[in-house]
Structure formats: structure tokens, C-alpha cells
């Protein structure tokens, strides 16, 4: 079955019928066939816990994508999940050899957008009464070309005692924060949350300008002066 797959595809390349494969990132369905939607390498994976397809009129209502591949009895004929087709750009190879007219590495890099549930690194830019404004610098493992605007609302800073949170005792401008995107938010901001042990300030400088190290879940200590400052601290390891 995978022998019919081309090694790589351009947008609009026919990859296979939608009854045999599931469309993954980089593909789309047109008239019940799967086509590529970007230029890149084609991969087919079966390990993914994907919902069994119902290519006819009924959307997959009962199957949950989160439960690991448990074929539902409703789907009588196919008990195995179909292979998921993805097309992805190979960025590893790029950048080293792609000499543009104007220099190295033109056009490289997957464009990334923050999405719900992605872990991001952000720098605090402004503090307000009810929220801290941040700029998102890293999404997952990839550095963004341009920073995205984000916001940590007061009630999203920590999981307990939400009503006692004070923004100025949790963040300072310039702090580096690890957070999780909880919503694509309003027109300009992504909403972040730090309400987990692993999330919060990971790097901070004291008022004196020295690097600090965390000593508890709510305090950093200046390595030189020994001054303590309050933060929502991410679990250090």
C-alpha cells in the first residue's frame, strides 16, 4: 500500500484515496482524495491514534481522538486505524546548502503559530492590575521569526488561591516565563497560563540587575546581594 506513495509531493499532488489514508498535516481532501498541500516529504504513519474515518455523511461523533487506538464497534469493517499521511518540509537539510542570491538560508523554516496546549517561552513586557503582557518568543522547540503578543491573566497565574494572586508579586518586566497557551484569545493576544508546577518564571534578574536562582515555589534569590524577590517560580527541574 505505501509503495504507491511518492517520496515527496508538491501542492496538488494526488497522494491516495481518502478511504485508504487519513489526512494529516500538509495534506487536504478534495473530492474524497487526499492531496498534498505543501512541498515536502511524504510520510505515512499507522501508530497515530486517529479516529477511524467515516467518509460518508456522518462526522465522527463517537470516537475520541485521545483514546489510544481502540476501534469502536460502530466501525464494523475496518478495525485497524488507517495510516495517517503527512507532508512535511525537511528543515534539517535546509539552511546549509541553500545559497540564495542574497545569502544563505533563504526561505527556510516552517512558519509556526502558537496553538492551544503548546508550551511557550515568553518575555514579560508590561504589568497591569489584572494581567501581565508578554511576548512569545519560542513555541515548542522552535524559535519564532517574530514574537507574538500574549497575556497572562491574574486568574491564570497559579492553580490555587487564585483570588489572592497579585501580578506584581508573580512577574516582573523582563522575566522569562514558561507557559501554556490556553486560548487563541482575542484579536491581539494569545492567552497563557502558568497554573502548573512546571510553569512560571524560569529566568529572572533582580532589581540590582543580577541573575537570580529560585529557592522556593514563590521566591528567587539574588546570587550576589542575597535579596529575595517574589515570583511565580517554575519547578526548577
Amino acid at each position: 500500500m505505501p509503495s504507491t506513495l511518492p517520496p515527496y509531493a508538491l501542492p496538488g499532488t494526488l497522494l491516495g484515496p481518502a478511504t485508504k489514508y487519513l489526512p494529516g498535516p500538509g495534506t487536504h481532501i478534495h473530492e474524497s482524495h487526499i492531496y498534498s498541500s505543501i512541498a515536502g516529504n511524504v510520510r505515512s504513519t499507522t501508530s497515530r491514534a486517529a479516529p477511524p474515518p467515516t467518509p460518508t455523511n456522518k462526522p465522527p461523533t463517537t470516537n475520541t481522538p485521545t483514546t489510544p487506538s481502540t476501534p469502536t464497534p460502530a466501525n464494523n469493517t475496518k478495525s485497524k486505524p488507517l495510516p495517517l499521511l503527512t507532508v512535511s518540509r525537511d528543515d534539517a537539510a535546509e539552511g546549509q546548502d541553500t545559497m540564495g542570491i542574497l545569502g544563505v538560508g533563504g526561505g527556510a523554516g516552517n512558519p509556526i503559530l502558537p496553538e492551544v496546549e503548546s508550551i511557550v517561552l515568553a518575555r514579560v513586557t508590561r504589568l497591569g492590575q489584572r494581567f501581565a503582557s508578554v511576548e512569545i518568543l519560542v513555541v515548542g522547540d522552535s524559535v519564532c521569526r517574530e514574537s507574538f503578543q500574549g497575556m497572562i491573566r491574574r486568574e491564570d497565574v497559579r492553580a490555587t488561591e487564585k483570588d489572592k494572586v497579585k501580578i506584581e508579586e508573580s512577574f516582573r518586566v523582563g522575566d522569562l516565563v514558561r507557559g501554556v497557551v490556553i486560548s487563541l484569545g482575542d484579536q491581539s493576544n494569545y492567552y497563557l497560563s502558568t497554573a502548573q508546577n512546571e510553569l512560571g518564571v524560569v529566568m529572572a534578574k533582580s532589581e540590582a540587575g543580577n541573575t537570580m536562582y529560585p529557592v522556593s515555589w514563590k521566591e528567587f534569590v539574588d546570587a550576589k546581594t542575597g535579596a529575595r524577590e517574589r515570583r511565580k517560580v517554575a519547578k526548577p527541574f
Binding site: Y8, L10, A93, G106, G109, Q149
Partner: protein, 321 residues
């Protein structure tokens, strides 16, 4: 547009002078006509196309398209008899929308087409004129249908196309003639579509297909006594263009996202014009495909998509539509 005069620069006097008129052309009635370029390509043969992607490092995707001078049947004059097309397209983004912009569930596309001031025989200003804005709208229409915008919520992408050299609307000896000006814009649009379409794929934005541009025209044919359908017309080579059409064509879906037809076309003529333009776009498509396959091969793949093996330096493909 007089209201949009450029206030930020010291401009050349308005009006200016027309490009040189040679006395020989006035004295000898037949001389000027001798210089007129003739189309020596077959009616369905395209000009050569050069395309390269990833030329601008700071952009997330970019492409450069060049359609060189048509082979000329005439010795060099001071003014080149035919014009060439050189277009650079860059894609910035997808990036977050500016703070002031309202929420958008899909990818917002903004296209800017600008002629370099030296792109045509008549100098263009720095502020975009009506024709350039119009081209921008056409280009946006052509691209919007291709992009799967719902996969990029809350973000925008800017497509900036700079025309370094544009096809002239008519032969220099005939400028401002009967239904002269403006035919070159169709060629420019087709070039813009091909270049911007390549740049978008280079940027890795989800597209339903590859979009390429093509032009076809009906010209007055002195020999065949009637109208003749030509693909990829170089306006300088034809005395009277009756109607012309540019399309943005999706190869594998066999659809068009953009049609720009102008001129006095009848009913059947309109159909065959669109048909012809799609054929021309097919030519641009084959070049695009070669270029991208080459790029993918360069990134460490052994086999070609359809057995297209062998490494080429650049896609410089000559073809007959």
C-alpha cells in the same frame, strides 16, 4: 490620480519629455515600420522562463521570475524592440496581525504589486498608481483561492511583488496608439501570479494546488485575414491586439482562480482565450514543478516524483505549449 502626488520626494518635472524620436523615422516613412519587431515564435510557443526560489533570506518565502526578451528579428536599436519581464516576489509571514486589526478566523492576505521606477520606458513614481493597485487586487484574487486560509487563524501574510522590468503595453514606435496601452499589464499579472505562487509554496503555506499564470491574446493577423490566437503575446510584436486574457490556473484541479479578460471578445473567443491562457499557464506550471522538484532533490532525496532524475543547475526550460 492627481490627488495622490508624491509629497515626500523631489520629483522630476511632471509631463517630462517623450523618449527620443529619431529624425530618420520622420523623414523616411517606411523606416520606422522596418524596426517593428516580428513574432518569430510559433503562435503557441512561449518565451523562455527562468524561475528560482528562496532568493531573499529574510523572507519566509521568495521567488524570482524572468522572461527574457523574445528573440528579435531585428538588429539592435537604441531602444530594445521588445521588453522583458523580471519579477521578484517575497512572502512575509504568516505573522501575527497588528494590534489594531480585528480578529480574523483565517489567514489575511495582503498583496502589494509595485513597479520599480525604472521598470518601464516611462518612469513610474514611488507611490503606487491605479494600475499597480489594480494588479494587486487581481493577484490577491488569484492567490486567495489557493491558500487554505482556515489553517492560519489570527495571522496575516504579506506578499510583496516588485516588478523590476515590466512588459511594455505596445511597441515604442506605436505608443499611445489605437488601443495600445495596457496589454503589457496582463503579462505582468501572469508573471506575478507565477512568482507569488512559487514564493507561497516556498514559504510552506498550505495550498490546495500550485497556481501559475498564463496569457493568451487574439491578434489581428494580416496574413490569415482574421484573428489569430497566440499564447504569451509580447505586445510589442503585435500591431493590433483585439482581446487578451490572463488567468491564474490550478494545474491538478483544472480550475482557474483568476480571470482577467479585456478587449472586444466575442462569445466563442472568450472561451478559447481562457483555454489558451490556461495552456500558457500550463507552461509556467511545468517550470515551477521542475524548480520545486529540484529543490526537494537537493534536500537529500534520491528519487524523483515521476522519475525526474538528474541534477540540473537551474530550471531553464524551453517549451512549446
Amino acid at each position: 490620480m492627481a490627488a495622490l502626488s508624491d509629497r515626500r520626494r523631489i520629483n522630476a518635472p511632471s509631463g517630462g519629455t517623450s523618449a527620443p524620436v529619431f529624425s530618420k523615422a520622420l523623414k523616411e516613412p517606411g523606416y520606422l515600420e522596418e524596426l517593428r519587431p516580428q513574432r518569430i515564435r510559433a503562435p503557441k510557443e512561449l518565451r523562455k522562463i527562468f524561475l528560482q526560489t528562496s532568493i531573499i533570506p529574510s523572507a519566509s518565502g521568495s521567488a524570482y521570475l524572468e522572461i527574457p526578451n523574445a528573440p528579435s528579428s531585428h538588429p539592435a536599436t537604441l531602444i530594445p524592440p521588445t521588453s522583458s519581464l523580471k519579477i521578484a516576489a517575497s512572502v512575509q509571514g504568516p505573522k501575527p496581525l497588528p494590534r489594531s486589526a480585528p480578529f480574523s478566523p483565517t489567514l489575511l492576505l495582503s498583496t502589494t504589486v509595485k513597479f520599480a521606477p525604472f521598470a518601464t520606458r516611462h518612469r513610474r513614481g514611488y507611490i503606487r498608481d491605479a494600475a499597480e493597485r489594480d494588479l494587486g487586487v487581481h493577484l490577491e484574487t488569484a492567490l486567495r483561492g489557493v491558500i487554505i486560509g482556515e489553517r492560519w487563524p489570527k495571522s496575516g501574510v504579506e506578499i510583496v511583488v516588485t516588478v523590476l522590468e515590466g512588459d511594455e503595453g505596445a511597441w515604442w514606435g506605436q505608443e499611445g496608439g489605437s488601443n495600445g496601452s495596457g496589454w503589457g499589464l496582463l503579462n505582468v499579472l501572469a508573471g506575478c501570479i507565477t512568482a507569488a505562487g512559487s514564493a507561497i509554496i516556498d514559504a510552506g503555506i498550505d495550498c490546495v494546488d500550485m497556481v501559475s499564470g498564463g496569457v493568451a491574446a487574439f491578434v489581428q493577423d494580416p496574413s490569415a485575414d482574421g484573428r489569430l490566437l497566440v499564447l504569451d503575446p509580447s505586445p510589442a510584436e503585435h500591431r493590433d491586439i483585439i482581446a487578451a486574457c490572463a488567468v491564474g490556473y490550478l494545474h491538478s484541479r483544472d480550475e482557474v482562480t483568476e480571470v482577467w479578460l479585456r478587449g472586444d471578445a466575442g462569445l466563442e473567443a472568450a472561451d478559447s482565450l481562457i483555454e489558451g491562457a490556461a495552456q500558457a499557464a500550463e507552461g509556467s506550471f511545468s517550470v515551477m514543478k521542475e524548480v520545486f522538484i529540484e529543490n526537494l532533490e537537493k534536500n537529500g532525496n534520491a528519487q524523483g516524483l515521476e522519475g525526474a532524475g538528474g541534477k540540473r543547475k537551474h530550471a531553464d526550460v524551453e517549451m512549446a505549449g
